[in-house]
Symmetry: C2
Subunit: 146 residues, 2 copies
DNA sequence: CACAATTAGGTTGTACACAATCTAAATGTG
DNA sequence: CACATTTAGATTGTGTACAACCTAATTGTG
């Protein structure tokens, strides 16, 4: 039972996603507290650790977030001294985000955080990979509808 | 690949959950707009449609939300005329939430909403049920750690 | 019964999310 | 080149989430 009629929230997949997402974010809260950043901020850092630099809209494409969310978030990362923001020389509309040395240095904490999160799911690697791809595919299908 | 080292967000299960949850909530936004309520408000209504009446903390236990989230949310449902709030006679600390006739009547929209959401996942019932239970179990294990 | 401890909700402050709107800077067309 | 259109970000307003704190009501213990 996970469908039509009227099911209690506990048996609906949307509530499972909503509630699992909040539970994991809570886990990150504890792990990221020493770094002084939040989970969405950490996601932005993950992209920057991979790309070195990124525009606001490239970040938005990766994380599926709009400027209304990213602008203030990136300002906070800037005030923490982890990134710098600057208008592109080619196109004054574009804002480039780049890592500071402090932001780059924070990268070294990532592996242990990922490891702890994986451990807290209680799943072994193969199951984790399988579940990740099923959920990512679902998200992709739902997003495709808009 | 869905784990330690430093993976891009797209390959991490936490980002899949976070992003799938937001995608589905966006879907609900469109479906619930005619009713004038949000997805978290709809979750509270689902519980009330099942139980008829509930205290704030019972609702919190079901949805894993605290009073800091529920108090303003329930006030909005009250100002929409969907529920009424009142202190319990037995224990003045307890606030009972009950459906109004309008709130009860809204129940009839639930089945089609659930059906549309299920359809938008692109999954058939068996897969949906299977995925739901895997994600719910994961959330339970993560919550058990606190 | 007195009183410390607990419990139920509410409030405050911070940080997302996202719709809607705004501004400035490109871009495209005649 | 002039000008309507598009595009990139920022801003505003509403609604979650959640930590931290507050108050009032109840409970447990001596």
């Amino acid at each position: 039972m996970a469908v039509p009629q009227m099911l209690p929230p506990e048996q609906q997949i949307c509530f499972a996603l909503y509630s699992a997402s909040r539970a994991i974010t809570g886990r990150y809260r504890a792990l990221l507290a020493p770094l002084g950043i939040t989970y969405p901020q950490y996601l932005a850092m993950l992209v920057l650790w991979e790309t070195g630099t990124s525009t606001v809209s490239q970040l938005g494409d990766r994380l599926h977030l709009d400027s209304g969310t990213l602008s203030p978030l990136l300002k906070r990362l800037e005030s923490l001294g982890l990134v710098v923001r600057g208008r592109s020389a080619n196109d004054e509309r574009v804002v480039e985000i780049a890592l500071t040395p402090a932001g780059d240095a924070m990268r070294s904490h990532a592996p242990q955080i990922a490891e702890q999160i994986c451990a807290s799911t209680g799943l072994a690697m193969p199951e984790l990979i399988d579940l990740q791809s099923q959920i990512a595919a679902l998200a992709e299908r739902v997003r495709a509808l808009t």
